[in-house]
Assembly symmetry: C2
């Protein structure tokens, strides 16, 4: 048994038991039992050192994050998370690093009652790929394609914080209680699992905000075949981001900053009162920022003027 | 849309349609429909440049191989392959490399009627993680744990060829028609999908031979809680390996060489005649090399003597 087999044993100890796992880590493959009447939902996202996170990212946060970003993808389909595999590539097995990584990973998994059922641990440049599995009732999944003209466009929580938090991590900004909150938003994304589940059969289209609200909403609109009229003043921006960047720059960060892992979704105006009742049970807000239009572009109202893709507030584009 | 989005579009073109894929590549996650009365089987294996393959491995073979090794894991559980995700990390998008890689990948996938349903393409050191999904009838899956005393131990095809083929790839050996066959065995493993499926409910335990027959059979026996008496003279060794290494050295390579992706399985003596009928429809042989014993070790008969783990023929240990 080599050192990497030992690592697998180490991960095995943290595994949360689930009755539907017939064969977990330690065989050629895992065997699980799907709940009846459900569709299987599968998401797979990789984090690569240097590309998706800077070297100074703590191991605990990496473990947490690689699970969380996949839970966010499942949430965006309105799926209930069930199981995950982890492919971990490590230059050198380091016991302290592994302990912190595993703790973060299992903390994130436990938050959504997800069981680790397999994967692979190999020597190589630092990277991790999680494949997460969930289920959704037949006919109630939500894709990017169902938005209709007149649907209201919502986003959960606040956007732009994680991008500012990355600057804090890179020490471009000083430490403060406010900046620490931004840093935490980068290191520990909160996948919107409960909101995603409750939007099954309610939202007409949904996407998770990983590449920035402007880009991701653009993908949803493109997939649905429509555009949108949006109001820049309605963007949900945190106090911390306002302090960090000032009001004008905060808008640009909120639109173009990535790694938020909030949900952006559309619902029919008929369902808005139902949404209000659902949101009471969420641990995040849901803010209407505009509505779907027949024009094939996203246009933002800003200081009484309508801007197409590029505009003064988001020179990023 | 950046260059990596373009790569995903490129892969999307090669996707084989399957009726059970409700939502494939291009959304936050894939949605598929599980066949009724079946268990879900999930395997995930990574290939990392420098660790699992040398730099000179052709892109076509890498694409083929990363799919094939996961199909082999599914076969070892007696599962029918269905869908796969691919996480591909690439230093630089290179059109020729990608075209060859994708061609190899889809060739391997098509051979088992597997649909690519998602994944991630990112910038980073060259590596690929495939997560393969399959199904097996309730109660008919085969794990490593079911071997019983007296069960016959079989291995499909021939073992050791791929290890010799790696030497050919590394140019430690000259080119010849015979050595080309060994090279092909390393570059293009044949996952034993049909044998694995037909052994559902027949084999008592099964594993795929990826780390070498001796190691992998050892894992199966350890998981089942038994040992084995084996006959070295019965090892299935190809003519090409005999030519490559000579009779004595070939035995050591057959026992300890990795990357064979054959199946090693145990069956009750009562089922041997059934097995004979099944094998007629396979494109590989199945050779009995010994039987499960109550001793807690694997012992090999060699020239009339019984050897425990280490022996003259496999000084590797």
């Amino acid at each position: 048994m080599d050192e990497f087999d030992l690592i697998e044993q180490y991960f095995r100890k943290g595994v949360r038991p689930r009755d539907d796992v017939l064969c977990g880590i330690g065989d050629d493959a895992a065997i699980v039992s799907m709940p009846e009447g459900q569709r299987l939902v599968i998401a797979s996202d990789s984090l690569i050192a240097g590309t998706h996170f800077p070297d100074q990212t703590p191991a605990h946060a990496l473990g947490y994050r690689c699970m969380a970003v996949n839970l966010s993808d499942l949430a965006a389909m309105a799926a209930q998370p069930l199981w995950a595999t982890l492919a971990l590539s490590l230059p050198e097995p380091d016991a302290d690093w592994l302990e912190a990584f595993a703790e973060g990973f299992f903390e994130s998994a436990a938050g959504a009652d997800v069981a680790l059922i397999g994967g692979d641990t190999v020597r190589g440049p630092l990277s991790m790929t999680v494949t997460a599995h969930g289920c959704v009732e037949e006919g109630r999944h939500v894709t990017r394609t169902g938005a209709a003209i007149g649907d209201r466009i919502y986003v959960t929580g606040t956007v732009g914080d994680a991008r500012a938090g990355l600057d804090v991590l890179l020490q471009k900004r000083s430490k403060s209680a406010s900046n620490d909150k931004l840093l935490h938003r980068f290191l520990y994304p909160s996948p919107r699992v409960t909101p995603g589940r409750q939007l099954a059969g309610v939202a007409t289209a949904m996407i998770d905000v990983s590449d920035g609200l402007h880009d991701d909403l653009g993908k949803l609109l493109h997939a649905s075949g429509f555009g949108a009229d949006l109001e820049l003043a309605l963007l949900p921006i945190s106090e911390e981001l306002l302090q960090f960047a000032g009001a004008d720059a905060a808008v640009g960060i909120a639109l173009s900053g990535g790694d938020d892992y909030e949900l952006c979704f559309t619902i029919s105006p008929d369902h808005e009162s139902q949404l209000e009742r659902l949101v009471e049970h969420w641990d995040c807000s849901a803010t209407c920022i505009g509505e779907v239009s027949g024009e094939m572009e996203a246009r933002w109202w800003h200081n009484g003027e309508l801007h197409a893709v590029a505009g003064p507030a988001f020179s990023h584009f």
